[in-house]
Symmetry: C2
């Protein structure tokens, strides 16, 4: 039996839950979970906010662990390897996107928390392709949040060919935002943090922010000349998006990685004048997760985390719900 | 004195109006207007819809004509050359954008209809850089609308590296849309026309549309798999943009060239799943206008126009206001 923590119904506290492991499929590996981060999407899964949850719901998709079993066709990993597992736990391997290395655009992806039992458990299984080796240089105790939060903010860097010469803005400095700040600073960009919490200012300077601006001070934002190549929004609240577009350079973009439920409202004139774009992206491909982990290893980037034992999982979730974590919780057995 | 047709007040019928020509500045040329197209933006200028109009308002910014005078520093044109003039009649020549050939992103552009008297006149002056030679192969009697409508729909082709292998959708088949249809078909793309006028179907097939779909038939659009690389919206009405995003491929974009006054409303989830973009662009740079005119000359592309004498300008405007033109009016003296 595999020990896990599960929500037994919509939004309930998590309880210890044991389940029978399934036979390992030929292309899958079984991972012993050393640690697992908690992401906002886990809360959405527990709460059933997206209408996709089945109960008992074992969430968790920022896994670091060691391979303890490999399927008969597995060639990418061996027992004892330290690996990471994120949002996707499998792909179809037959579509144009899988064939091109863009597995995250596959329309038949499996999700670690919706298609199976996830990482709030002693063991988790996944398609070998979705499982990524952890570089030796990485501080693996804290690395879990890179597998979802990290790749989510790293993907725009790759997709839009961001370089050290670019000016980047980050709206919202939390689980995703603080990683974006570290990553784009490590790349060498000029990075502006847009935040609505004054109490984070010292911390943001420490993290390397070149500039800190209140995300809700419209007059201060209005005064900025149009100079950003990329503004990444990590927040889940509605802001004046036309205002942010006004400080973006021609050919620049406002990019969403935070799941705002309210519609994005913009004026076509905010886009037309400077051939600007609004876009969004989800996590990233296995290839880009590898790139991201190597980048973080090379630049000594670790998520800033608070550690909890799995037995304290409900305390950690409560802190996340109240936005009291700096900046991400990581669970260990 | 220069003869022209001007609106003497907001939204009024145009009247014959004569004005004293200014001394020609060193970098400018004076063009004898052979023909001038009428664009929706001219109506906006006449009606004062954008709050920028001064009266008497001489609109008109789809000019074909011959150079009759050159300023002392002009090197790009000589008297007798046949040229075109579009939305921009001048640039600062000092900013990063002008220096990079992206003059249309210059923040100090002069506008043919707002910064001076426009093309509904016997003569019009402009910065030599904003004036583009008309290739010999082009049917110059009908070419006026290329200078605004043509470049507006050609710009996304250049900006987004569209090739014959791409699937393109065009929403709205009018002044801009019919040119988009001709241009993207000439490039070799598979082109789908989204229109709400059934009476255009025969015409659209004649123009080369591979597929014709009602732009307001939601269930028909919903049934399409996600296969478009680029959908260009030329309309000025609000549609269900999330629906159009759902039929766009990963990394594809919904691009606005039509000035919709209603806010663009989308869900961030429509963008995130496939790293999709929404964007907009204005006319184009002088370099791209040249490219577009050469492309149209090479592929024998002419706007489909109805000809009017300048004396009939109010009739032409009335037909445009009632959406009765197929597809653009061109005025001659």
């Amino acid at each position: 039996m595999v020990k896990s923590y599960a929500a037994m119904s919509k939004g309930s506290e998590l309880e210890l839950f044991e389940f029978e492991p399934e036979d390992l499929e030929p292309n899958k590996v079984n991972i012993h979970v050393e640690s697992c981060g908690i992401c906002h999407s886990d809360i959405s899964a527990i709460d059933g906010s997206w209408g996709k949850s089945k109960y008992p719901m074992v969430a968790g998709h920022e896994v670091i662990g060691k391979i303890i079993e490999v399927g008969s066709n597995v060639s990418l990993h061996k027992i004892g390897d330290r690996v990471g597992l994120g949002w996707h736990s499998g792909y179809c391997h037959n579509c144009d996107y899988c064939n091109a290395g863009d597995h995250n655009f596959c329309s038949s992806t499996k999700k670690t928390v919706f298609s199976q039992h996830g990482g709030f458990a002693e063991e988790v299984t996944a398609d070998e392709v979705s499982v990524i080796p952890i570089p030796n240089g990485l501080n693996h105790q804290d690395a879990g949040p890179l597998l979802c939060g990290g790749i989510t903010v790293f993907t725009p860097l790759v997709e839009f060919n961001i370089t050290k010469d670019n000016k980047v803005g980050i709206i919202g400095i939390g689980g995703l935002g603080h990683l974006a700040l570290k990553i784009y600073k490590a790349l060498g960009c000029h990075v502006t943090a847009f935040t609505n919490s004054d109490d984070k200012n010292d911390l943001l300077e420490e993290l390397g922010a070149d500039e800190i601006i209140s995300s809700t001070d419209d007059s201060m934002i209005k005064a900025i000349e149009s100079r950003f190549d990329l503004i990444i929004s990590t927040v889940n609240v509605k802001l004046d998006w036309n205002l942010f577009l006004s400080i973006i350079k021609p050919r620049g973009r406002l990019h969403f990685v935070g799941a705002v439920l309210a519609p994005i409202e913009t004026s076509v004139f905010s886009l037309m004048g400077g051939r600007k774009s609004i876009s969004g992206s989800p996590v990233g491909s296995p290839e880009n997760i590898k790139k991201m982990l190597n980048f973080c290893s090379e630049h000594k980037i670790s998520p800033m985390v608070e550690h909890f034992k799995f037995a304290q999982i409900n305390d950690a979730i409560t802190k996340l719900r109240h936005n009291e974590l700096r900046f991400r919780a990581v669970l260990t057995w």
